[in-house]
Symmetry: C2
Subunit: 237 residues, 2 copies
């Protein structure tokens, strides 16, 4: 009975980690949605709230770190369990970064709410972000259910985010060339688009952890990045 | 004797991790120096080599992951040892990101080597990067010697990197406003400067791990970021 009790409590600890990851991921998804909504509506108050609330994501990472380290010390997990625990540590770190990128989107949104609007670009960023938000939702489902097929699907969809980013990069450079007054706001929009693209990379990295947890193997090849922005050149007419 | 043998071998495993971190960090430092040198000399061949060699950093992270997971499974480290092992996992992940940012600097350097030069900016980036390279060197020393004072010093110096980045951000925007042909190259330089600033953040995060390893406590307050670029607005004359 004693042994059984310990086993049950260990399972409870593992499921506690899973719950914390679900909570942290769900909140990261909400924060991104709110940041992009603030951008669309030029709502600096909402953006300020997003900046403030990032602390909650940091606190959740801290809690996950403490639980996992306690499990490693007291339970000495092996095989699948050890993989789950170390994957949780890495996923929490990815979610924390997603929170950081979101906070930066919100900070730049505050700056943008005081400068003149660039028509159409916010809508493009909203579409790109909707894709990434959906990827976050799906990767959290994949994590909760150990669903490798879903994780692989999320990983493949990051290509679309990269393509979106490259075309936004190009578009923003042309706006900057048309009117020097666009340069400052478009620069902040360039970094916002880049932040969304980086969030996509972190979601992909979570998908890779889910794959590792459920199969015990890594993806055989590195994902081909389709983000060509670093090589993009646009010349003035 | 048997017990002693196991203890010795455990120490050897821990020192193997330390050696791998030293190797990975040393190589990350070299890569950054080469990327910035390629930028300064408009040397696309050297930049291409930096892009190719990033794989070596990824392989070292993989090796560190494997050794730490093996130690966690077979040795069940507790207290200080457990802290060292989990810190190594996190530091390896920071160094891998530093490698990624460096690779992106090199990619943009290839693009820049084909566009017209922006005088003076490369020199500013070289100075900013020299500061960050020195921080990498010092944080690796602090890690190797468990030197908390040195780690704290590295963490404090990131403020200077942030200030450097904000002034470069402002400078680049003015170049873009002066001549539309500067817009594409200055945009890549903006992202390069941002990458160096982010590398500084990862070095800071390593310094925080070293502090945690050597004292068992976290820094009481979050570091005040002095990077004002996200809030910077420059208007055309």
């Amino acid at each position: 009975m004693e042994g059984e009790h310990i086993v049950k409590s260990f399972d409870e600890e593992l499921s506690h980690i899973n719950n914390l990851i679900a909570e942290m991921g769900g909140f990261a998804e909400i924060q991104l949605a709110r940041a992009v909504d603030a951008l669309k509506r030029r709502d600096s108050e909402l953006a300020e709230q997003v900046v403030r609330d990032d602390r909650q994501i940091d606190n959740l990472e801290q809690a996950i770190d403490e639980v996992t380290i306690r499990i490693l010390a007291l339970r000495n997990p092996v095989a699948d369990d050890l993989r789950s625990v170390t994957a949780a540590l890495k996923i929490a770190s990815n979610l924390e970064r997603i929170g950081d990128y979101t906070k930066n989107i919100a900070k730049r949104t505050i700056t943008l709410s005081h400068s003149h609007p660039i028509s159409g670009v916010a809508a493009s960023i909203v579409r790109m972000s909707a894709l990434v938000q959906d990827m976050i939702k799906n990767v959290l489902d994949a994590y909760a259910n150990g669903d490798d097929a879903k994780a692989t699907d999320v990983r493949n969809r990051d290509e679309e985010v990269d393509q979106h980013h490259t075309s936004l990069f190009r578009e923003l450079l042309t706006y900057m060339m048309e009117d020097a007054r666009n340069i400052t706001p478009c620069t902040h929009l360039l970094f916002i688009a880049k932040n969304v693209e980086r969030i996509g990379d972190h979601v992909t990295s979570i998908a890779e952890q889910v794959h590792f947890m459920s199969t015990g193997t890594k993806f055989p090849t590195e994902r081909t990045k389709k983000d060509e922005a670093s090589a993009t050149v646009v010349n003035p007419r």
